[in-house]
Amino acid sequence: MGEAMGSGALGPAMADSRPLLLGLKGITKAFPGCLANDAVDLDIRAGEIHALLGENGAGKSTLVKIVYGVLQPDAGEITIAGEMRRISSPAAARDLGIGMVFQHFSLFEALTVADNIALGLNTAAARRDLRSRIVAISESYGLPLDPDRVVHDLSVGERQRIEIVRCLLQKPKLLIMDEPTSVLTPQEADNLFATLRRLAAEGCAILYISHKLEEIRALCERATIMRQGRVVASCDPRATSARDLAEMMIGAELAAPAHARKPDAAAPVRLAVQDLSLRSNQQFGVDLHDISFAVRAGEILGIGGIAGNGQGELMAALSGEILALAPGAIALDGVAVGRIGPDGRRRQGACFVPEERNDHGAVRDMTLAENALLSAYRRRRLSRMGFIDRLRTLLFAGEVVEDFDVRTSGPRAEARSLSGGNLQKFIIGREILQDPGILVVAQPTWGVDAGAAAAIHQALMDLADAGAAIVIISQDLDELMMLADRIAVMAHGRLSPARPVAELSVAEIGLLMGGAQPERAEAAHAS
């Protein structure tokens, strides 16, 4: 067990002679129905890169929001450079030399880079000569940035640079990075690490939040591991194996899903997409260009890529929320459905799990029974002559809850009362229990705890084994490598040709994610 590994908050860093920068003692924060932080202790020294490791829901975000002044603790003490402080607001945190780069960027789409940075600076003095200082900082740290561009035109990597430059302009003593690489290509992540190492060498402490074990082992010199709101261990990640870190984080050993499937190369094609192009209907969306692929019965196709490269639009095009221009652009079991909406596609045997759970895949303010009705009314015959069959609907919702181990008070509970992972299990269960011939899933385990993720992965593989064609659109490369038979990558609204997983390296996928042409990616692989 994890507790055996570390020894209190200080652990291996005991001998460190660098001055203590941030000290947390007994930090406790409760939300209705959950204790997010339970007497958390944490010490960070000047110039160290300190990992805060834990699963979704372990309490990492709550803890750093307290440090950054977004939340106030119910109990506990914060010391900065030895002095007890109360951090009443993010502005106060910035005054104390604390900067933070958020996971979901706190950027304003309609404003320019310079405006966005100005908004994060406390005083008029700090905003003087801003443009030239932005250019200077971004050049000296290798973070190219044009202060006059409007944010909605920028890539995710560029957006992250804005946040970092904004922090650096204030010469922080502590920089908090919340899951910074989840939106980057492997190459972009390497650049980020170089920047962070340089900052640390200059004496800036970095609190690095992640659940990606390998990058923590590569980057950080100390790790504090949280589970269910508590600090459960502390260690030197460079000297700890990824497997040990994972077990400390999860608190139990996980059974790897069985991957014994061998898809039949001669099985019939169930989902065929041919030269699909369409304009995005979203604000600042990405248009799709000439997308073609085919998925056979029993096969899982993984579609990777950095968020915001057209995955949302592809999902909408496959589900029928946006119609294709040509009927033949999408075919389900040989039937052209390009001009048919979601209901008609479900009739043809396709089911869908959109990326966003809240108010897309499910309606937060409706009961689970009503949410079961939402997409299963056709295939499970939950309505009759235009009237809702309440009993069948309740029974079906109950079946989903039962079969997929959804933790809830029952089918009459509102979707909003479920945790993210449980709601995801419900949505995936709702689609799988409709016995689809084709299933398209976006981000199946996004924000889901490891146990639930394993269950979802197993369910998807079982469905494929039963002869369904499955498409998984995910930003989580590990997930795709584990589940998919073939992988294709989306970049700038184009899809690379799908290739068998065995033939692909992470580096190659990284290049494809960056928008490199397949030929170049292959060349990189060969060299």
Binding site: P32, G33, R86, S319, G320, E321, G341, P342, D343, G344, R345, R346, F352, P354, E356, D359, H360, G361, A362, V363, R364, D365, M366, E370, L373, L374, S375, Y377, S383, G386, F387, I388, A413, E414, R416, S417
Partner: protein, 356 residues
């Protein structure tokens, strides 16, 4: 000391029912203060406004006569409001319904037979639906905000009304007053209970409550409207047609408002006059909210608001209060209702200053 508002995990069903009741009570308390401010005995004034109107058989019946159009319109609006289609031009649709029905009544003025009245029903519905169709078309074709277009069309409708009663439909024997002729008896809704003004329209509105209940609470269509209103992306995911539901909301909303307008000219009034628009279309918005967009709730909400009209009339006569008191009360009621709805989603804690 300050209020702390904490989100509930689930919406409170108790408060969904309690909130309108609390809002009504708070409105009564507030209006008592207003009466006191205006120098009237608050309790006596409350009695005049809220109890006296229904003490007689005729008065009690009048409650239903007034509630009928409110309920009818509000059910149509509830369809749209559930789907986030904000038709606030029911007043205009009401007027157009009345105008179309009057057209039939005047055209067949010489025909002394009940089919005239019967023909006025579809005419009224058609007029209202037509006026509701315009914002629907403009919203779907040009993306134009239906709140503003439907409201602008209300002004247009009342100007059409003024034009008709001052021009082509002016009563030749009306001493120059801008109003139409009194309808022939055949064009008036049959009165059903002697000594009262209860007419067929009152029962029609009850029928619409029942139909509305089936549609909104039991049918797939009602479910679709609700999903569209709460989560448009989920509606798209489910494959519900935003266009179809928008058309439905505005056509049914307009049609029912038009029907209410038809019953108003063919019933209590019996002619087209510039005094026809009395704000039913706007009051029905309050009725719809007070009734939680639920047909049964709307029935009760309609009775409460009808009583406020009757009470307002009484208060004008007996207490010399200005007619505007009715509107103020209605506005306050809606304020309180919206405020009380907070309790459905949030718990409110009164925190007594935190340490430091």
């Amino acid at each position: 000391m300050h209020l702390e508002i904490i989100a509930r995990g689930e919406r409170s069903r108790t408060w969904a029912y309690l909130s309108p009741v609390l809002a009504i009570v708070l409105t009564l308390v507030t209006s008592a203060f207003i009466f006191a401010f205006l120098g009237k005995d608050p309790l006596a004034a409350l009695k005049v406004m809220w109890i006296d109107p229904v003490l007689t058989k005729r008065g009690f019946a009048e409650l239903f006569v007034k509630a009928a159009p409110l309920v009818m319109i509000a059910i149509g609006l509830a369809l749209g409001f559930r789907a986030n289609v904000w038709n606030i031009g029911a007043e205009g649709q009401f007027i157009m319904g009345a105008i179309f029905a009057t057209g039939v009544a005047l055209y067949f003025y010489e025909v002394q037979n009940w089919p005239v009245w019967l023909a006025m029903i579809p005419a009224g519905i058609l007029g209202g639906a037509l006026w509701g169709a315009i914002p629907a078309f403009l919203k779907l074709r040009f993306n134009a905000n239906e709140i503003l277009t439907s409201l602008m069309l209300t002004y247009v409708a009342s100007l059409i009304l003024l034009y008709l009663v001052a021009g082509p439909w002016k009563d030749p024997d009306g001493y120059g007053f801008p109003q139409s002729r009194m309808f022939s008896d055949a064009a008036n809704s049959p009165r059903l209970i002697s000594g009262t003004r209860i007419h067929v329209g009152v029962f029609a509105s009850l029928g619409i409550v029942i139909l509305g209940w089936f549609l909104l609470q039991k049918s797939m269509l009602g479910f679709q409207l609700k999903v569209l209103g709460q989560a448009p992306r989920a509606a798209a995911f489910a494959g519900f047609s935003t266009r179809g539901l928008t058309w439905l909301s505005l056509l049914v909303g307009g049609g029912l408002a038009g029907l209410a307008g038809m019953f108003e000219v063919a019933g209590p009034i019996g002619q087209l006059t510039p005094a026809l628009p009395t704000g039913y279309g706007f009051t029905a918005i309050i009725v719809a909210f007070l009734g939680r967009l639920h047909p049964i709730g709307i029935l009760f909400g309609g009775l409460v608001l009808a009583l406020s009209y009757l009470g307002g009339e009484k208060a004008q006569i007996a207490l010399g209060l200005p007619a505007a008191v009715v509107k103020i009360n209605q506005g306050i009621l809606l304020f309180y209702l919206l405020a009380c709805d907070l309790f459905i989603r949030y718990r409110v804690k009164i925190a007594t200053g935190r340490a430091a």
